[in-house]
Amino acid sequence: MAVANPLNTPIPSEPNFKPRSLRAHRLLLLPVSLAVMLLVWQSAIWINGFPAFILPPPARVWQRMIIALSDGTLLRHTAITLSESLGGLAVGLAVAAALGYLLARSRTVERLLAPYIVASQSVPVVAIAPLLIIWFGSGLTSKVLICALIVFFPVLINVIVGVRSVEPDLRDLMRTLRANRWQLFFHLELPAAMPMLLGGLKIGATLSVIGAVVGEFVGPNNGLGSLITAARNQFDTALVFVAVIALIAIAMGMYGTVALLEKILLAWKD
């Protein structure tokens, strides 16, 4: 007997029905927008006649990048900024997740700590950064701490919202099944809060790169922030551009990794 959708099988979501040509167009979108951007950049120089130390043309930035790549400066500084960002993200995430869980589960802890946490956010990280440099030197530790500070708050808020979003009925279900504390966390709270946690991590990943640059500006030693400072002092504007592009690459790479993680861990959502 022919019945429409007899087994209540899920109907494939809309994108699968999109014609092939449309998807091909979407693939072209990025290269086209890049080309347009480069054209606007170059035209600005042609029209206004900016000297290279104000706005270097794309070709010059490209040449500078090749040089910075071949003599190893770019990779060395990029690696340092990347490790500061990753380290800060890890520390910030760990502290925010643990504290966020406690705050979400206990009103007492929330009343005790919330004022301090909110107060800490009213001070810009740039204002605290010099202190951290004084205390921990201009090495890796202070930079990681600056990144962690900037990552901490958005992740914390997302963890609290995530843990609080667990449905009370599901908690009741776990209680009727006599789940212990650890089982409750592992089987219910963690998976239920995962979408919010990963959302926080996405924001944190990009903020962490900003933290690293702030740290390197305040306590220049190594890394892309220091490279920018040095290049600016030498009017090597092309190198400033190269460093900025490297920063964008780091941020996009970290964001992309979290997005990929999201795709794998939250496959049940869509």
Binding site: N8, T9, D169, L173, M174, K269
Partner: protein, 250 residues
């Protein structure tokens, strides 16, 4: 026969800053092993609160619940609960949702899987083992919830208006399925409902509660022959029982 569950002089007060809201008032009755009891009453009569007491999720303000001769002070694995909503975990597949109680009891994977497959079959969801809850209809979700409540073989099953959100046809199918399951395992069932015909079709006994606060209004035995069928709804005996229950509610 000694009752498996009894509620004794139980009162329940919800604190509301205004002396509290009395949800249940001095409620007492016994449930015999293997009995199918339906509890019915106007909305807001504390039916769901009563079920919370039987599940051990909440303790009465006064009085007590006795489970197998001992006061019930916390939830028990041997008392299974099906909630109004299916309460499935969206990140788990149908099969994984059903094995949840066994995982929490650390039943080895092999044994858990075969038991869950058996129940998938029983509730008519064969072929949907790996589907996610979002791909299921309301009726299918509720069947998964029933399978999950049965998988660890509890002695008592508490059902809180489990079919309330389903359409009439699905509801009828679920009634027959529940009767079939009950016939096979003969568990003690306490089911809260607001449908008179549902209560009479399923139960050995219908307990009627009054509007807020919930008090025992009537305790009516249903002596219709088993196995029950949907056709019984049209018999004069059934009609007489409906009249009787309706009179008790009003």
């Amino acid at each position: 026969m000694t009752p498996v569950l009894s509620i004794q002089h139980a009162s329940l007060v919800y604190p509301n800053g205004n002396g509290g809201l009395l949800a249940l008032d001095n409620l007492s009755f016994d449930v015999a092993p293997g009995e199918f009891v339906c509890v019915i009453g106007p909305s807001g009569c504390g039916k769901s609160s009563m079920l919370k007491l039987f599940s051990g999720l909440r303790r009465p303000t006064e009085g007590q619940i006795i489970f197998e001769g001992e006061p019930l002070v916390h939830p028990r694995r041997r008392i299974g609960v099906v909630f109004q909503k299916a309460n499935l975990m969206p990140w788990r597949t149908v099969l994984q949702n059903i094995t949840l109680p066994l995982e929490l009891e650390r039943v080895p994977g092999e044994a858990a899987m075969s038991r869950a497959r058996e129940l998938v079959e029983l509730v008519g969801l064969a072929g949907f083992e790996n589907a996610r809850p979002r791909d299921l209809s309301g009726g299918m979700e509720q069947r998964v919830a029933i399978a999950r409540a049965l998988v660890h073989r509890p002695d008592v099953l508490l059902l809180d208006e489990p079919f309330g959100s389903l359409d009439a046809l699905t509801r009828e199918r679920m009634h027959l399925e529940l009767l079939r399951i009950w016939d096979r395992y003969r568990k003690t069932v306490i089911m809260v409902t607001h449908s008179i015909s549902e209560a009479i079709l399923l139960a050995d006994r219908v307990i009627v509660l009054t509007a807020r606060p919930g008090r025992l209004r009537a305790d009516l035995p249903i002596r219709l022959p088993r196995p029950r069928t949907l056709e019984q709804v049209f018999t004069p005996e059934f009609g007489a029982l409906v009249t009787q229950v309706r009179a008790a509610i009003e």
